[in-house]
């Protein structure tokens, strides 16, 4: 069941894992809102990356929830994060109490986003040196809380994201970051979210249905694939929109009107 492709995987251009995993590298932005949380997309991607068929590494930067939270959810989905962590396939960076020192921590390498970046790059380097060509995914949950940790300096967050982006080109990593769109809605010029949209190659947007909530539809996802001609991958679908229903241990995806 879990290896079969669903609409989300198709929209993201992920395949069954037969081809070279490094070809599926992407810069993915997930946008959600208060009414419709998109954290299930993150969980889905963790599970996909950690499936027994691949040897991928996930570097998870958590600003939002502690390890036990993700562990419980993923266990229900049939993926044991503790085991994966011991196997060095799941690196959990707990940033719940991160506080950036004033002045961006420029002078020293201790603390702040610079230190965090150092940890990520180190993990990536170690993995590349030991694990060969296995794919690496860096996930950040979520950017708005990172901005809080950076004392509200969105510029500092963008610098950090840029450095993460250089990892994608240097080591072929994927980068997945979650942000909340509606917290920027009243701003005159919401630079951070716009910058992230420019940066991302694929944007997944989770929204409630326009008509409000329905008992068997929990929201809709819009996947926008900018398909930047950056490398050999060609993605057939550029845009799609479908509904989803979150169940106890999986999520159903379907086109509007295909369920009664």
């Amino acid at each position: 069941m879990d290896r079969s492709l669903n609409l989300l995987d198709e929209a993201l251009g992920l395949d069954n894992g037969d081809s070279n995993p490094s070809e599926t590298r992407l810069l993915l932005l997930i946008e959600d809102c208060v009414e419709t949380s998109a954290s299930f997309v993150l969980h889905h991607l963790i599970k996909r990356s950690l499936s027994p068929h691949s040897s991928a590494l996930v570097v998870f930067v958590a600003f939002a929830q502690p390890f036990s939270h993700y562990d419980r959810i993923l266990r229900k989905m049939g993926c044991n994060l503790v085991v994966q962590r011991d196997n060095k396939r799941f690196l959990f960076l707990d940033m719940l109490t991160l506080e950036c020192p004033d002045g961006d921590g420029e002078k020293t390498c201790k603390g702040g986003l610079l230190d965090l970046y150092g940890k990520i790059q180190k993990a990536v380097e170690v993995s590349v040196l030991t694990g060969g060509t296995r794919s690496i995914t860096i996930m950040i949950d979520d950017i708005s809380l990172m901005e809080v940790a950076a004392n509200g300096s969105s510029n500092h967050v963008l610098d950090f994201l840029h450095y993460c982006q250089t990892l994608t080109t240097e080591f072929g990593c994927s980068l997945v970051f979650l942000n909340h769109k509606d917290i920027y809605s009243s701003m005159e010029r919401s630079t951070l979210i716009l910058q992230m949209e420019y940066l991302a190659e694929v944007i997944i947007r989770a929204e409630p249905l326009a008509t409000g909530l329905a008992p068997d539809v929990h929201g809709q996802l819009t996947v926008m694939n900018k398909g930047i001609c950056d490398g050999p991958q060609t993605l057939q679908t550029k845009m799609c929109n479908f509904h989803f229903r979150i169940k106890e241990n999986c999520v159903e995806y379907f086109y509007p009107g295909s369920r009664t």
């Binding site: 380097e125 510029n155 240097e170 769109k181 949209e197 819009t222």
Partner: protein, 376 residues
């Protein structure tokens, strides 16, 4: 018009004048500025290789894409990679723009695995210092063309990133010093307009002799850009868009041009819209299922209709038909009167307005005071 831009960049600067400069501007609704930038870069490169252009080399300041991306881009455009070092220099502001990696290596947290800088790529570790950046660009250009009269072009792949690290005044100073440098043939840069204040974009537009504006095919009317109700709109804008060009001449004349583009696997394709200019006037009337315009016959018939009060005041008694049956005889009489009149005009057609009252229960209009039962 993309072609005329490339031609202007190819022809370069006149002796003693500023080099032509191009601002490529886009917004999130149509984020294809990088495609246009890549197109202009590839065109200029092939012009340089064919020795058709004034400039003999390009200094590319890479802020938003890695140098290897551009090398791959030129390679896929069929340009010989082995000759690249003769005419291309890349200032790498992408890999380590703030010196974080350098500092981490010093601290010992990471080892340096970054690709070694080759003779055509030079690493810049502090983008915030624009004076240094400016002198680096000039230095690399001189490496390419020598000290003499040769000229080179400057391409900056994201003025937006530059503006994030430095103030608009210092960026403007950098661009203006590049334009006025005697060895610079032309310059172009990319800007995401919605990330900056209007003030900032207009400063850069003033400094450029050409502006290429990438716009969506159809603007979303409501502010909720991402709402999925606009899904079809998004889809429409995901491959195509409008390309507006403004070129300023030396004498102050401004030329506006307009093209459309679509994104294909091989790159960006421009199509002119002048060929179907006739379509524009026709399409001013929206295409609908019913007629919005009258045919000639219908217009004549409408002109013949005698409006209800038109005939009054020509000596006949004034009669107002209120729909009651007992006036029917009078009405037919009136109509026959009209018949005569129309026939004397030697016009067989006849227009009339037929009005039936909804029901007989309704009280006909009268001069009675509707409020006379009020006890005041």
């Amino acid at each position: 018009m993309a072609e005329s831009i490339c031609r202007a960049l190819r022809d370069g600067a006149l002796e003693g004048e500023h080099a032509p400069a191009l601002t490529i501007k886009d917004s999130i609704a149509s984020p294809f500025g990088p495609h246009v930038f890549n197109h202009v870069l590839a065109q200029l490169s092939s012009n340089i290789l064919a020795r058709k252009s004034q400039s003999q080399g390009i200094v590319l300041v890479a802020l938003s894409r890695s140098p290897s991306f551009y090398v791959d881009l030129l390679k896929s455009g069929g340009i010989d990679v082995y000759s690249l070092h003769k005419w291309l220099r890349v200032l790498d502001c992408y890999t380590d723009p703030l010196g974080w990696k350098g500092r981490l290596v010093e601290c010992g947290s990471i080892t340096n695995l970054s690709p070694e800088a080759s003779n055509k790529v030079r690493l810049c570790k502090d983008v915030r210092n624009l004076d240094n950046l400016s002198s680096l660009i000039i230095e690399m250009g001189k490496e390419l063309v020598g000290q003499g009269k040769g000229r080179f072009s400057v391409a900056i792949d994201s003025a937006t990133d530059m503006l994030r690290h430095a103030s608009i005044s210092s960026v403007a100073a950098l661009l203006s010093s590049l334009r006025s440098h005697a060895q610079v043939s032309c310059a172009f840069w990319l800007l995401h307009s919605d990330l900056h204040e209007v003030r900032v974009t207009s400063v850069l537009e003033y400094m450029s002799s050409m502006l290429a504006n990438v716009e969506p095919m159809t603007q979303s009317t409501n502010e909720q850009r991402g709402n999925s109700e606009n899904f079809s709109l998004l889809e429409q804008n995901s491959k195509r868009g409008k390309f507006n060009v403004r070129m300023k001449r030396r004498n102050g004349r401004v030329r506006l041009m307009f093209e459309e583009f679509c994104i294909e696997q091989s790159g960006i394709k421009f199509t002119s819209v002048s060929s179907d200019g006739g379509m524009v006037t026709q399409s001013l009337v929206p295409k609908v299922q019913f007629n919005l315009q009258l045919s000639e016959k219908e217009r004549i018939e409408r002109a013949k209709v005698v409006l209800p009060f038109e005939h009054q005041g020509n000596g006949k008694s004034i009669e107002i038909y209120d729909g009651r049956r007992y006036l029917n005889e009078n009405k037919t009489e009136t109509i026959s009167n009209f018949d005569e009149k129309l026939q004397t005009n030697e016009d067989p057609g006849r227009g009339e307005i037929i009005y039936f009252r909804d029901s007989d229960d309704e009280r006909p209009d009268s001069d009675e005071d509707p409020d006379d039962d009020l006890d005041i």
